[in-house]
Amino acid sequence: MDLNTITEIARPRRRTDVAGWRSGDAWLAGGTWLFSEPQPKLARLIDLTGFGWQRIEITAHGLEIAATCTIAELDATTLPRNWAAAPLFNQCCRAFLASFKIWNMATVGGNICMSLPAGPMIALTAALDGLCTVWTPAGGERQVAVADFVTGPQRNALLPGELLRSIGLPASALMRRTAFRQISLTPLGRSAALLIGTRCPRSGGFAVTVTAATSRPIRLAFPAVPEPEVLRARIEAEIPGTLYYNDVHGAPAWRRHMTFHFAEEIRRELAEAS
């Protein structure tokens, strides 16, 4: 929709071009959320595409995803054959409520910064030990784990004027086997529970990341695949009832039930020999 209060589009090419952050500013990446609702408090959009960031970098250390990388670009990326987690990328892209056409515009960084419980890029990157690189207004940068970046529904660790620059996924996490489970109240609907399990081929370490069911991502790590009761007790201890999300896409009690159900399915799947 038209954002009629916007009076200026800033299009910086370099970081030093970014003038002082002020009230009424917003970073513009894909724009798929900004342009989907009235934004009466905004006056200036700062377009990130002018930075020309390389969207995807594959190195020996892992994968570096620019915040401006679109969902379509991420989904189309061919990953090294020894990265067993590769199927997870398409599974998470398909977990978007939005059409595949939106994938051509929406960005990975935008989805993480929206910080909705059902954000599938949050699920993907939190499950793979993602590390956010954040630019600070003073010209510095800091790093925050994705699992700590999202602090609640539409709340995150960004301070005014800070910018999510990129998300790094370590190669060690990308080499893990994964298991994916997702459910919605309606076919192809918004995720009400999205759980991802990983298992390290070397150490045998197991982790399950709970998103969509909870207000923020919860990652539970174990040195090995736990026994069912151990996993259950850990979920019980670390996800209190109040943390299960409550909206029209699912009641907290159902989301809690699905969390336990999926976690056990994932445990069984990853306990099997690859």
Partner: protein, 234 residues
């Protein structure tokens, strides 16, 4: 800003917060429909450098130096695009409002999308068809009996508006430009269950461009309805 729409070069500057959908319609491309305005319905689907996008979500300035294809530009050299022909053959529309966006989306589907049409079409809403005729169109099923000039009785004859619908030439209320037309905005009370004692119009009348403000005080004591027989309601 310079960009190309359906092979036509445009040099025009959008407003800073304008979306591509509004900008295209302002330039006369009314085949780009205004639907939900929030990226859900797909009626505004266009191709940007060949990729399908919802133009209501795309900042208009992002079209700079790029090529936009709307439903009006899908046909080439006077020949309908195969998907436009398929929608005619299957009568893949009813009111036809969603059809331009539906065809733009359908024309961009790859084989993988066609294996899962429910997924591929979840960004296009149709209130009329139930999607059966749309699926027929995409799968190449023809539902029309052309009849080669025979009497139409007992045959599935095509809707007369079909050619205009599949090419984006069919005009709907929002597509009609009337010079100097005043628009009405309904303003509701922000307070549920409040009892209105008085309405002050001064602030609204001071807004540039506002012609008049009507309130309950302007409602006639004797009311008429256009519903049913149009008889007066006492």
């Amino acid at each position: 800003m310079s960009f190309v729409v359906n092979g036509t070069h445009h040099a025009a500057r959008p407003r800073p917060g304008q979306c591509l959908r509004t900008f295209l319609r302002q330039l006369g491309w009314f085949g780009v429909k205004k639907g939900c305005d929030s990226g859900d319905c797909g009626a505004c689907t266009v191709l940007l450098n060949g990729e399908p996008v919802h133009s209501c979500l795309l900042p208009a300035f992002r079209a700079e130096d790029r090529e936009v294809t709307t439903i009006e530009g899908l046909a080439a050299n006077g020949e309908l695009h195969p998907m436009q022909r398929a929608f005619l053959q299957a009568q893949g529309y009813q009111c036809g409002f969603c059809t331009p966006g539906m065809i733009m989306t359908a024309a961009s589907l790859n084989q993988s999308h066609r294996q899962d049409l429910a997924f591929a079409l979840k960004g296009n809403l149709c209130r009329c068809t139930g999607y059966r005729a749309i699926e027929d169109a995409i799968r190449g099923v023809g539902d029309v009996d052309a009849g080669d000039g025979a009497a139409p009785c007992g045959r599935n004859v095509p809707a007369p508006a079909g050619p205009a619908v599949v090419t984006g030439q069919q005009r709907y209320t929002l597509d009609i430009v009337v010079e100097g037309l005043a628009h009405m905005k309904l303003v509701r009370s922000p307070h549920a269950h409040a009892r209105i004692m008085a309405i002050h119009k001064e602030a609204a009348l001071a807004v540039p461009g506002v012609c008049a403000v009507f309130t309950y005080e302007d409602a006639p004591a004797r009311r008429f309805s256009t519903a049913g027989t149009g008889a007066s309601i006492c």
